[in-house]
């Protein structure tokens, strides 16, 4: 059982002279599930990409079955039995499931009917319920993952590497996924499993390796670990105010609702948001929970002006006692509604700009005169204030934002929003792709904002986060708010029940 199928010895990988991982020793045993944990930038992705042949180690050796192994390309790795299932799935969206599974094996003349039958049998043998004739673009996240896994199994992969496989899955899909991993394990496949969710790693893996700053910290059997120990290994210190813990956070007093800042009645947008109604009060955190696709982001984007609600029978949005219908976010921003995006790379920051310019852009956006003079000194001074307030870890404001870690990027995006002096601030998945240390800080910040009397909305798919932060919890399902709970009466079972049924 304990024989190593894949081994790394003293592997170092440098990018332009900067080591991403340093002299790592890593063994993957035959038929085990090995979880790889660490903060952002700890080197998990780099390590797994070396295993998958995407990157080549700068120094050190790879061994497979005790023989030296050289992986020139991902295709070569696949050929040798190592498959990687990436975070963003690597499927061709315009092709069918069957075509994707057999991609690269086509003969000169490709008979689709035969392919479909073959794929059907193959998928059945894996116990996957996916229609081989369906287009991949029409599948949900979990099904796409099944197709990827089927492809890996089809290539007789002995080792499958999953990079954050559960990030986009609903709880039900996660359950399927876990069963699948266990089944693969029974078939003797070795699995490397990268995750941010520690519970999943604890529940699923046989062994856990923790990386920190590109270095190996600890590898041990899962039964010797608990949450606390893992976090300590990941950040190298014990976090004050235990993250999502059972400590003081959970028992703090519920904030009393202040003024009714926002009232939403019967708002609809197509088939995504359907007749939803709710209110948001100042001086407290309103948590929005729901499964992926429940229309939470869309609902709040309507309020922030980023989406438009239906022209007819689109409902009513009342902000600070005034009926509003924003066609563009600009008007909402100037009225004091600010939306902090869930995908900072796509709609959060300006990648060619420095930290200072990014933060200052938020300030500039609130002004109107296009010809007013912009002083870079003022920008830097203003940014420095926020960098200090939010504890952004960077050398100075001139550092480029893409050089920062996910957590620090998120802080910059939040600073850019806060500089606009919002009355209502909407955080959409504020800690997605953010390391453990920064999560604590961002949560602290959100609580501070609510204490200062701002109306705060937090959208999250992560139950402990919702439970930890919110004073009131709204639960969305299929485009509308179906349940409202006070945090005192809420518990995970109740919330989940409302979100699913």
């Amino acid at each position: 059982m304990s024989n190593a199928v894949l081994e790394m010895r003293g592997v170092t990988k440098e990018f332009r002279g900067v080591p991403a991982i340093q002299s790592i020793d890593f063994t993957l045993r035959d038929g085990e599930v090995h979880a790889l944990l660490g903060e952002n930038g700890a080197g998990k992705s780099t390590l797994s990409k070396i295993l998958a042949g995407v990157h080549h180690p700068t120094s050190g050796d790879l061994l497979m079955d005790d023989r030296p192994l050289v992986l020139s390309t991902p295709a070569d790795a696949l050929h040798k039995g190592i498959a990687m299932v990436f975070q963003e799935t690597n499927l061709v969206p315009s092709m069918t499931v069957a075509q994707n599974i057999y991609l690269g094996d086509e003969k000169l003349l490709n008979r689709l009917r035969g392919l479909y039958i073959q794929a059907q049998q193959f998928l059945q043998s894996l116990n996957f319920h996916v229609d081989p004739m369906a287009l991949v673009s029409e599948l949900g996240a979990a099904q796409k993952q099944m197709v990827e896994i089927a492809r890996a199994v089809h290539h007789k992969a002995r080792i499958i590497i999953f990079d954050e496989p559960t990030a986009t899955l609903t709880p039900e899909e996660k359950h399927h996924f876990f069963n699948l991993v266990r089944r693969l394990k029974q078939q003797g496949v070795s699995i490397v499993f990268i995750s941010h969710a520690l519970e999943e790693a604890l529940a699923l893996s046989d062994r856990i390796t923790v990386l920190r700053d590109g270095q190996h910290v600890v590898t041990d059997d899962t039964r010797n670990f608990d949450r606390h120990k893992i976090i300590q290994a990941m950040v190298g210190r014990t976090l004050s105010g235990d993250l999502y813990g059972t400590g003081g956070q959970q028992d703090r007093a519920v904030r009393r609702p202040g003024r009714r800042v926002l009232s939403v009645q019967n708002v609809s947008m197509g088939r995504i948001v359907r007749n939803t109604s709710f209110s948001v009060f100042s001086g407290q955190v309103t948590g929005f929970f729901g499964l992926v696709g429940a229309g939470r982001t869309e609902t709040l984007k309507i309020i922030a002006g980023a989406h438009k609600r239906d022209t007819f029978f689109g409902g009513e949005v009342v902000f600070e006692g005034r009926r509003v219908r924003y066609r563009v976010p600009r008007k909402a921003v100037r009225d004091g509604i600010v939306y902090v995006t869930e995908d900072r790379k796509i709609e959060g920051f300006f990648e060619t700009m420095s930290i200072a310019e990014n933060i200052h852009m938020g300030h500039l956006a609130t002004g109107t005169n296009p010809l007013s003079i912009v002083s870079m000194r003022e920008a830097r001074a203003m940014a420095a204030e926020w960098i200090k307030a939010l504890d952004v870890k960077a050398i100075d404001g001139n550092a480029r934002i893409i050089e920062l870690s996910g957590g620090n990027q998120q802080k910059v995006v939040i600073a850019k929003a806060l500089i606009q002096k919002p009355k209502l601030i909407i955080f959409d998945e504020p800690t997605r792709g953010v390391d453990v240390g920064a999560i604590v800080e961002i949560h602290g910040l959100i609580n501070r904002l609510a204490d200062e009397g701002i109306a705060v909305v937090v959208i999250s798919s992560y139950l402990p986060e919702i439970m930890n932060l919110s004073d009131r919890i709204l639960i969305a399902r299929q485009g509308k708010i179906v349940e409202e709970m006070d945090r005192r009466e809420a518990n995970e079972q109740k919330i989940m029940y409302a979100a699913v049924h």
Binding site: V328, E347, E351, Q420
Partner: protein, 323 residues
């Protein structure tokens, strides 16, 4: 971090310098005062157009209608000037025409969300068609006699510097200040860098786009006036030449990435110098237009290649903070 890294801008400047020295040594007429004047003047017009194009490209757009707008607006101004209405009024009419064209392009791009490349490509032909059918019938319009002040704009000098160069300098300086120092300029960079983020952050994204195209077509008009002044007329056939691609070459060679949000006036100036020296040198060497185009394209490809080699798109650095 800030070491002496060669940027595309620097590389292009070096190439321009090497070419200039090379031509100066090998071609006898190259450094003659007459030729240098021609070089600078032709470069100036290309440069002014490049500035307009540069602005739009920084904002993640492209304006292929610039040459058409320039040709038609200036021709119309001249045609009006030939009647009793007067040349000054004609110039005003041309300006209004440019603003209107810019507005139409901008509204189509910003509000109808037609990709800029198609909008401006079509608008170029439409504008030229309107001009040919409604404003003028001759291929070449001559500036009406008796407008000495206008001729000065093209052929005059101040302290020995041709007016064309001065015009280029003024447009460059103004644009530089606008881009670097005003809210409008910062907004252009932001919306070129990431349009969605700009929108969410509350920038007036669509009005910004419209303004860009209005400004670029006004800059094209300035270039056209300088051109008409220096040769006392406007040859409408240049609409059919490869001029718009030369302008694009200036912008891309100078290092303003077509992805938007990068570069500035300096890049346009450097690109203009290279393209100007190159075109002039090749013309003196009597290289046929076909070969000139071939050489230009190869140089464009090389510039992009060198840039990729010097500033590699490292997967790890481009994905920083991804997970």
């Amino acid at each position: 971090m800030r070491t002496m890294r060669l940027t595309q801008e620097g590389v292009v400047f070096l190439i321009a310098l090497v070419l200039f020295v090379g031509f100066a040594i090998t071609l006898t007429d190259f450094v003659s005062p007459g030729n240098l004047m021609t070089l600078l003047r032709s470069v100036a017009i290309l440069g002014i157009l490049g500035l307009g194009m540069g602005l739009v490209v920084v904002g993640r757009g492209i304006d292929l209608s610039m040459v058409a707008v320039m040709v038609v607006a200036v021709s119309w101004a001249i045609v009006i000037g030939q009647t009793e209405i007067g040349f000054a009024t004609g110039i005003l009419a041309g300006l209004i025409f440019c603003i209107l064209t810019g507005l139409v392009v901008g509204v189509l791009v910003a509000y109808a969300e037609v990709p800029a490349i198609f909008t401006t490509l079509a608008m170029g032909s439409i504008v030229y068609g309107i001009g040919r059918s409604l404003f003028f019938t001759l291929d070449v319009q001559n500036v009406p006699p008796g407008n000495e002040w206008f001729a000065f704009l093209g052929r005059g000098t101040i302290l020995g510097i041709p007016m064309a160069i001065i015009a280029f300098g003024i447009v460059a300086a103004v644009l530089h200040l606008v881009l670097r120092k005003t809210r409008f300029g910062r907004f252009i960079y932001a919306s070129g860098d990431n349009p969605q983020a700009a929108r969410i952050a509350g920038l007036p994204y669509r009005p910004l786009l419209v303004t860009q195209y209005v400004v670029s077509s006004c800059i094209a008009y300035v270039a056209g006036l300088v051109m008409a002044a220096s040769v006392s007329g406007m040859n409408t056939r240049i609409f059919n030449s490869t001029m718009i691609y030369d302008v694009l070459l200036v912008v891309v060679l100078g290092g303003i990435g077509l992805a938007g949000g990068r570069g500035g006036v300096r890049n346009v100036i450097v690109g203009t110098l290279l393209v100007g020296v190159l075109l002039n040198g090749m013309t003196i060497m009597n290289i046929s237009l076909t070969y000139q185009n071939l050489i230009k394209s190869v140089i464009l490809l090389m510039a992009i290649l060198i840039d990729t080699l010097l500033n590699p798109r490292d997967e790890q650095t481009s994905q920083q903070g991804d997970i």
